[in-house]
Symmetry: C2
DNA sequence: ATACATTTGTGCGTATGTATG
DNA sequence: GCATACATACGCACAAATGTA
């Protein structure tokens, strides 16, 4: 499946990250000439980048590369669901597997997955590290009917990347809930963190294109200087 | 300014909130017939609702009203920038003004506002309450060149509502940073909270249509059961 | 201050592809 | 196999904001 506006969008993103476009992008007219597509297609592609907060656009003037205001600390950009990243720069993450089980869906999980109770799900608990150290404790659940096979070996690297490549599926959208979680004794034992330490909790449900949820996870993020960034467009004036 | 797709979008939102549409929306064809607009306009309008997580859409099947999975605790929906709300239901908020000053922009503020240092800004510190009690401590800054007049009286109610009505401007988009803030002695004195209590910190910069930032704020949210919800669409596959 | 060209924003119509039921 | 419904793509026209001469 190779959609024109997504191809164009990806190419534009690459050109921004690789500093081909430093400040201003070419006009829509120039871009539709370059890519040999219609204006709608160009605008679809640019709309994606705009919604992700990568570019600004000013009527009568043009499209401009967005520079993030904050640059200190560990900033996780939620706009781009292509793995952990620090404002545009992807992070290399490896994991220590704490649990790898196949369990029947509880009432709660069956609600999240929109499936009958008892349906099988993978339950994977991981500690996630970068070069800097421990990032998060993750409790992830995957619906086995959608993801028939997983292994501990796979879970040491990126589960999502494996899924996308082997099952040729992709995330359509996600629901995110952010709150504060204070570390319990059990979690402290697992992570070495102190009991009662406040952490950022991110609960996440990921959906396929057909609206089927396939992944639910709760993660606790430990870095003190961490913040979660996202960009909002107000389309209802 | 009365744009067709925004009018349609607003009308659809109302019909969802007022339970005219409980589960399924009419098809695109039926809607363009009803509103007497083109298919692009209908899809623009529906796209807004989709991006905000209000509806799901399934190719070949139709548009469906989204039911939030979590219903417990105080959930703040960030998608819709029309004041504080609890998953769709607006909250009545009133404020106690702690500070109301006009100050010159510091280096930091001048970066946020993209203005020269020393430009005048309103600085307003408020405690925000609902019937349930204290919600947040807010430190808000408004660029005086964009918002020439504010008063303490106005700040007791919704500042945004006043601005939108009197200056006929609206938020185009916003940058949000979420992190954890532990309450200091000074803040504890102001709020009655205990020193060291972890709170959700939301930093926010709001932009006008011409990309001019007009508001920067840092707020600390106190409810224990609070979580921040937002919906992500993955447009890059 | 005015006029004009450029550039993005909105809106309509049409054709074809793809998923669902 | 078929009808329905959403997804993508093209092309065109005009409005509105911006930048420049």
């Amino acid at each position: 499946m190779t959609l024109k506006y997504q191809e164009v969008a990806k190419d534009l993103v690459n050109k921004i990250f690789s500093k081909v476009y430093i400040d201003k992008l070419p006009s829509e007219g120039a871009l539709l000439e370059e890519y040999q597509v219609s204006r709608n297609t160009i605008r679809n592609a640019l709309g994606i980048l705009y919604n992700q907060g990568l570019i600004r656009r000013i009527q009568g003037s043009g499209y401009f590369v967005n520079k993030p205001l904050h640059n200190e600390g560990f900033i996780m950009n939620m706009a781009n669901k292509v793995g952990l990243n620090h404002v545009g720069n992807p992070l290399i993450v490896h994991s220590k597997i704490l649990k790898f089980e196949i369990i029947p869906a509880s009432e709660e999980l069956s609600r999240y997955f929109n499936c009958p109770m008892g349906d099988l799900v993978y339950y994977i608990q991981r500690l996630r590290y970068t070069d800097e150290g421990l990032i998060s404790l993750e409790n992830a659940y995957y619906l086995k009917s959608v993801i028939p096979y997983l292994s501990e070996e796979i879970c040491k690297e990126s589960i999502f990347q494996f899924i996308f490549q082997h099952y040729n599926i992709s995330i359509q959208h996600a629901d995110e809930y952010i709150s504060i979680h204070t570390i319990t004794q059990e979690e402290a034992d697992l992570t070495g963190a102190t009991v009662g330490k406040p952490t950022i909790q991110i609960e996440e449900i990921n959906y396929l294109k057909n609206e089927q949820p396939f992944n639910y996870s709760v993660s606790y993020y430990f870095p003190e200087d961490m913040s979660v960034y996202f960009h909002l467009t107000n389309q209802l004036h």
